[in-house]
Symmetry: C4
Subunit: 277 residues, 4 copies
């Protein structure tokens, strides 16, 4: 992954994931709050579940692709772990990245089982995701031995967002459906994505001129830059949230709920929906 592309690729994934989560949770929250306007027409329980199943399947797919790419792309270890001819481990970096994908694959699998069958408690979903983020941070943490100061520093910043996300998702196990935590998670996911791009720009500048990796001023700038990324991701989340809330409201107001009988039925459905969250 020692290249610009190697950082831009996961960055893009996390950016898309963050945007997706922001949209999903904002939409659900807006429909939950506007129950009285008959918002269940927009998001019924069945459609929510279908969405979750789709999300989990995509997660499964991408992590399998990621694992295969790390193993079989040019220069990959092709599933061999130890090079007996040279008496050393083969392509440990690729193996580590494949391990990270493995845990996201696990999170996707658990999420799929949770939303397809009824037998598994809902919170396991979040627990598996929290573990995936934790392991990502854990492997990065022991990744940094003997690198340059700035290289270590940009990755440390990354760790803040990764471990922060792990913590937030772990808290969601105990506070399911808490919109504050869900939006925070989305913002941290966006932050992680954009920071991956930034790391790419700092360590492998596409333009050419290299950064001095041992300059203390560069380190201070990078710290500040990380805060700007956070501010930007918070503003993005806010904008999406406001847009979706407005759209949902205007839509609901334009088309009044049809019949009281039908509505009542749907309200009950939503109620159970909420407690299931």
């Amino acid at each position: 992954m020692g290249s610009f592309k190697g950082h831009a690729l996961p960055g893009s994934f996390f950016l898309i994931g963050g945007l997706w989560w922001t949209g999903k949770y904002s939409f659900w929250y807006a429909t939950r709050r506007n129950k009285c306007l008959g918002s269940t027409r927009l998001a019924s329980r069945a459609s929510q579940r279908r969405l979750e199943v789709m999300e989990s399947s995509l997660m499964l797919l991408f992590s399998v692709v990621g694992m295969l790419a790390e193993q079989f792309a040019a220069g990959g270890p092709h599933l061999r772990l130890y090079d007996t001819s040279e008496n050393q481990w083969k392509d440990l970096m690729n193996w580590q990245h494949a391990t990270m994908y493995l845990f996201f694959w696990l999170a996707g699998a658990v999420s799929l089982v949770v939303h397809v069958t009824e037998a598994v408690p809902l919170a396991l979903d979040r627990l598996a995701l929290a573990l995936a983020f934790f392991i990502e941070g854990f492997l990065f943490l022991y990744h940094l031995h003997g690198r340059d100061m700035l290289d270590v520093h940009v990755h440390q910043m990354l760790l803040y967002s990764v471990f922060g996300q792990a913590l937030v998702v772990f808290l969601e196990v105990f506070h399911p459906g808490n919109i504050t935590l869900e939006l925070l998670r989305s913002a941290l996911c966006l932050l992680q994505g954009s920071w991956f791009w930034q790391i790419g720009y700092v360590l492998y500048p596409p333009g050419g001129a290299q950064w001095v990796l041992t300059d203390h001023n560069n380190m201070m700038f990078v710290t500040m830059c990380f805060c700007w990324h956070l501010a930007a991701s918070i503003l993005t989340v806010s904008a999406i949230y406001c847009a979706i809330t407005c759209v949902v409201r205007s839509r609901l107001k334009r088309t009044p709920p049809v019949e009281m009988g039908l509505l009542k039925h749907r309200d009950g459905e939503l109620e159970s929906d909420e407690e299931a969250m």
Copy 2:
């Protein structure tokens, strides 16, 4: 900010903020507890909201002023980030302080939206404030590289109060309206304010005689001094709390509630007020 004034100014802001919060939360708690005496005459839901809007607006205003001052005051970077002539970053300190203000600006903006519109969950307010304090501490943390022992130490003490405050506000996300946490937050805000003044006195003594920045005894004294500041801020909060509680009670006892019909109506109003908290 390498001057006495540069520390006294934010110190004064935080002192005023801490006093304000102490008063506000004590007053609301006193009116909530004395509902049976008709305390809603003193603090109706609408007036509470007006107060919050005012507070948020002031926060927005001050942080904008702060950002402008850091950028355009004498010696500021005037929005230029990189000095291409000298090939180095321009006035990173000012940029860092402006970044801190930026997050308080964000917290103010979120708080304003929360209290003006109904569409945003209340807890986002606290989350944004917690982030603002966290980022303040985060930037200070990477501020201290290569300074003298005592200089580092006084700023570390500051970090305790800043991160403590971030933690307390984050806990408030899950325990909204908890008076214990609110008073603790107020006390920590006062502590932070008075400690800024203390840092000014230690690093840039207005009298003249410099402190020896490498003496271990000075460090021990400073540690202890930090505890005294905390004790003083707790006593201040206690005094204000007691004064306000007494005033509210005596006022309510002097002027008995007018009519039962009116009172009932107001009680209902307060009830919803509380659960909204």
Copy 3:
């Protein structure tokens, strides 16, 4: 314990314990969820308590055996703490391991009292277990002074699982009967067990060829290997959970509940069961 066997033995204990917990909690959760099918035939309150008493007794037994083995096995200190002839402590390692067993003995004793008598609050059970894991980690933490890099590293990995388990059990004090935490605890227990085996293989390879204890690549491999153990233990827990859920369901469906009167009585019993959890 400086041998392969010395690591394989506790490893096996934790493996068995983890499997047992996975089975127990999965079974109870399955019966709780399928109350409507009359699952109380499978797990009545009395049988649950009998199981707990048995578990505690086994824990007591094994920890006493462990303590005796550490003291009186060949090379043990035979309860003498200080060797006055050589003016030094006698077999500190054995004493430390005996101390670890002591706290598991305490946890077993508390658990026994909790489940035999009614006078003790249920959560004390978990608290004692959390302390036992904490002390295990605590003693390991101060165990590692002056060892080789890889030796320290594999034990640090162990500490992650041990302290993680202590934390999870401590959280269970406040969230009793939370299946998510219980399964996480089981997975971490399995992880600890299998990691003990791995430590044995790394430090005392039975085959012969020694690992280079100062090679950074080995350290990176070991970190990754720890993640694989975690993934394996999660998969094991998932497999057992699914198997047990399926078995319970199929059994309940084959033999329909007998009589409504009896069932009602049992349902009430289970209800109180749940809140007691």
Copy 4:
């Protein structure tokens, strides 16, 4: 405080405090659980409050005595902070200890106000106590610069118990009346007390023979010894708890509740008692 007595004295205070708390909380828990037997005869709401007021007053008294002793005992600073003749701080140690007492004084004062008046939320009581323990640990933390390895180590062990206690009391703010946390706090208080005695024995052995302060084996023994102290304090708490529970039960069974009318009245009283906790 660099003497055997200087460690034995606070140790004794904490031992007495721990025993007192164990007894108090065990007794209240036993009476709460045996409500149906009319246990309110033993602990009415008024008597509970009287006990709390007494406890707070004693805490106030002892901390004032402690502060005076630190200031005016032979070799104390007599309230002078800076020795201008020698240009250095005067008796910083004594000032630090006086500061610790100051926070326990604060905790006592807050507790007194909480239990005498009705105007203050109950949880402030615990918050002030948590702060007192935190500050004790905080000052000890910056106390240890430049001492011998074993000296630092025994004080680090002390910090575990002090910060552990601060954390437990802080958790009690959110889980008031949780018997598990209260017993844990009592055990940690006993641990702290007995460990103070142990520190005295290690650093200023009354017998004569000095400990080698740089021997790694001594450090390992001390770590283990700390665990034994913890085990002993847990056993002490358990023994007291069981004894009190048995005594309360046997007493209640011997003298059956007098009249239903009276009982009902008292039960109601206790109910509100509980929720006030």
